[in-house]
């Protein structure tokens, strides 16, 4: 048992659901007790989804506990098949069904016979993997299922497209700025003259997956989700993949050079020409993206040697660390990730760019580390933002887990050249905010701070008895002044001099009348 207040990565089934509901016309059925469908709320609220989240539960209740699910799961699958006609139904186990140890595969096999949809059981163990690992695994499972199906049916298409093309793997729902990153990646590839073959899972149709091998290479922008799929495709179809995250000027260039290398394997044969992206990289770096220029400007000079702490998922934490250290000259005192399963890769990436490395999924350790280091700015998740608030240190949010404000309506990619601009803004704003705060402190702060409470208790001929004072103190601070004023106004109007709790309520009612 572990005493836990907060966690960075969610339970396994969330990962599976995120992948399943990112595909179009795929429905997930959770084998779960009432109330475990909180995923629907998150998707509906955070992503502001207009459509009903294609996730339902086959409810595990007392009866199921006593007699087993029996026909229930099969019925629920076939019913959903009739109602929504999905291409694929993913039966998703939860922590509850992990312990029940029912033969879910058997239910899936039976349901598959009577439904038009394909039916699979998500192969994830709640107690061994977290949300991100499960998402990675589920994506691979779905891709494998459809490619093997295509192979059986003989309609696998492995001839390369005429023009260079790529699959983007790992864009999915509730991902940190994924929608914007996706748009930016499409633009980047288009600039390079590379066609998008498919983007999975977001917005993809499972029925089209058999065409995945037509792409010249796979691009996996985030380490957390998509690598397993890319590895599978490499092994089965010899498809090369690029997993360098195009975040920050340096890594975008790295990524583009790798792309160049990959497509130049085939281009001379198929197109009778070689691609050279160097002029593009140069033009973008120096003139289109503002980040390179920003790092030379006086603004950025002032950031030199300032201390920062970075924490987040492996992809974002590593990339941001490198950007801060190499591209902006900021001193990264500590960098860390909660992706414990990817520790080795992470250490290797950030080794020379920071003073220390912290691998943990315990937010109190992160908090302690921040308190000890006292950086000028933090770049982390929503949790670090709150730690920062408590310690009065500004924080830029760079990674999941996130809140609704991290699903902005405006265009805010982290990847690609526009991403570098966004990151530069984020970094610079975090530090200046900190500076301003600091200066205010030195010069005695804003002088308007206490005004509201001061003006209240001046010319009073009214007395508050102890009970009503107590009641007043229970009212949240930000409205207390208003309530007090209104009550006193009401009392004066009614020629009451002693304010009791009754008077307070009467005032409230009078006001609302």
């Amino acid at each position: 048992m572990k005493l836990a207040y907060w966690m960075y990565a969610g339970p396994a089934h969330i990962g599976t659901l995120r992948v399943a509901s990112s595909f179009k016309n795929v429905h997930a059925i959770m084998h779960a007790p009432l109330g475990d469908d909180y995923f629907n709320v998150m998707r509906s609220m955070l992503e502001r989804e207009r459509d009903f989240t294609p996730v339902t539960a086959s409810i595990v209740d007392r009866h199921v506990l006593a007699r087993g699910s029996q026909e229930k799961v099969v019925d629920n699958i076939t019913r959903k098949d009739k109602q929504e006609r999905p291409d694929l139904i993913v039966l998703t186990p939860t922590c509850t069904s992990s312990i029940l140890q029912e033969d879910l595969q058997n239910f899936v096999d039976r349901a598959a016979m009577s439904s038009d949809s394909d039916v699979i059981l998500a192969d994830v163990n709640h107690y061994r993997v977290n949300e991100l690992q499960a998402a990675d695994r589920t994506l691979e499972q779905v891709v494998r299922y459809y490619l093997e199906k295509a192979r059986r049916q003989g309609n696998l298409n492995i001839s390369l497209t005429d023009k260079p093309s790529a699959n983007i793997i790992g864009i999915f729902t509730l991902g940190f700025h994924n929608q914007h990153d996706c748009r930016e990646l499409k633009r980047l590839l288009q600039d390079l003259g590379i066609k998008i073959n498919q983007i999975i899972p977001e917005g993809g149709f499972v029925e089209n997956l058999y065409e995945l091998p037509k792409a010249w290479f796979n691009l996996v922008p985030y380490r957390e989700v998509g690598l397993m799929t890319a590895l599978y495709l490499e092994k089965e179809f010899g498809m090369p993949y690029i997993s360098t995250t195009p975040m920050g000027v340096v890594d975008i260039a790295n990524c583009i050079r790798q792309i160049q290398k990959q497509i130049n394997v085939w281009a001379p044969i198929l197109l009778k020409k070689k691609f050279d992206f160097e002029p593009y990289i140069d033009e973008q770096t120096r003139f289109i993206s503002q980040a390179a220029w920003f790092s030379r400007s006086i603004d950025c000079q002032n950031l030199t040697g300032k201390k920062a702490v970075v924490f987040g998922d492996a992809t974002h934490a590593a990339s941001i660390t490198k950007i801060l250290a190499c591209e902006m000259g900021i001193r990264v005192s500590c960098t860390g990730t909660y992706c414990k399963h990817d520790e080795e890769w992470f250490r290797e990436q950030v080794q020379n760019f920071c003073d220390e490395i912290l691998i943990t999924d315990d937010h109190t350790k992160v908090g302690d580390m921040i308190a000890r280091i006292e950086p000028s700015a933090i770049f982390g998740t929503q949790m670090e933002r709150h730690i920062g608030k408590r310690l009065d240190i500004p924080c830029g949010v760079i990674s999941s887990p996130v809140h609704i404000q991290n699903f902005p309506l405006g265009y805010r990619p982290f990847l690609g050249y526009e991403g570098t601009n966004q990151i530069a803004d984020l970094v610079y704003n975090s530090f200046t905010l900190g500076m301003e705060d600091h200066l205010l402190e030195i010069f005695g702060g804003h002088d308007t701070k206490e005004v509201i409470t001061k003006s209240l208790s001046t010319d009073t001929d009214l007395t508050w008895n102890s009970e009503s004072q107590l009641e007043l103190s229970k009212i949240p601070g930000f409205v207390r002044g208003k309530i007090k004023r209104n009550t006193e106004k009401f009392a004066r109007q009614n020629k009451i001099t002693k304010i009791t709790v009754e008077v307070m309520y009467a005032a409230k009612e009078d006001l609302s009348a």
Binding site: K2, A4, P11, G35, Y38, R50, A57, E471, E509, A513
Partner: protein
Amino acid sequence: MSIKISETLTFECETGNYHTFCPISCVAWLYQKIEDSFFLVVGTKTCGYFLQNALGVMIFAEPRYAMAELEEGDISAQLNDYQELKRLCVQIKKDRNPSVIIWIGTCTTEIIKMDLEGMAPKLETEIEIPIVVARANGLDYAFTQGEDTVLAAMAHRCPEQKVEIEKNQKIEDKSIQELFSFLPLKIKEKSSKSLNLKNQFPLVLFGSLPSTVASQLSLELKRQSIHVSGWLPAQRYTDLPTLGDKVYVCGVNPFLSRTATTLMRRRKCKLIGAPFPIGPDGTRAWIEKICSVFNIETQGLEEREQQVWESLKNYLNLVRGKSVFFMGDNLLEISLARFLIRCGMIVYEIGIPYMDKRYQAAELTLLQETCKKMCTPMPRIVEKPDNYNQIQRMRELQPDLAITGMAHANPLEARGINTKWSVEFTFAQIHGFTNAKDVLELVTRPLRRNNNLENLGWTNLIKTQKG
């Protein structure tokens, strides 16, 4: 699909495929209510993930609750439950020193049959902090019923009320002290204020309300010369009310049927079955029922109710004649529907997770009377609703307002149906005369908002309507 609206109340039961919060969410408001408590949810990552997301920012205010997260070793019994729980509880005692630790049992503890009730008394004596066990799991309960399980468990911990309290005051307190020897029970001086109040038997109200709302309700009863001798739960665990066979109890929320049963059967209290004090009509009926039990003639209640209705005029003009559809997820639905019908709305369907016809009897009668009085057809009451079917029905009925969970709110709005999140009714102050306005404030918000947007021509915001 034919939807007929009948003359009498009809009860239906569907598949139970509906969206609601897990009952462990009750820790969110209960830990704030009971100031000296600590809630330990014994469950998995799934439970923790739900809590941290559902409760939003509250998590960052050093909450007095935590997960005891079960790991693979706990599930396969490689680790000793008792030792593990002891380790965590000792740590909690050291860090927070609460007056009570409440263990919330979850689905997982049910399935692996962890004997929380058996372990608690043993550990309690060992670490010298009372441990209350409540099984608030998704296998058995929905959302607000979580509070019900906690209060039912707590009812067992209320001190015993002896006959002729005043005389035996000292003895009684001593016996309680012996019973809970580890518990620093405050010996409270009985105030002599109650002299001018008429009821001779103590009245205890049950249901967790914000302290302002609780004191508002107490005040309303005081106006009728009724003294409320205690609340379950009180602001502090150490202030739990005394119970016994002379004590009258009355519920303030519709989802407290287990607590009511426990109070009656185990603590021998007398239950006053009344409608719930939601809306001015409900509040008046609630007070009247309590007064009638104590043989007290009510004073000025009718005028008071009338006055509140007067003050609601502007809202009533907005809602009159509009139709509502309750999808059902928090058990407040019957009382809210009754109030809204009285406001002049038409209720098509009342979805509700669970319907205790005995505990809610008075409320159901009032609903029926209200329908007759307002000349509106009786709504259908759908227990364990099926959200998919409900959405089909809603497509046909096109209600002016759907009261629904957050999972459906945005998709329904995109399809041009006004929605109000049902959860807000659980967290807003909706009880008593004073707060009737707040209920209508919530109900009319989508209507008012959409009045403003009406002429912009973008009600329907989805590309293709399926089916």
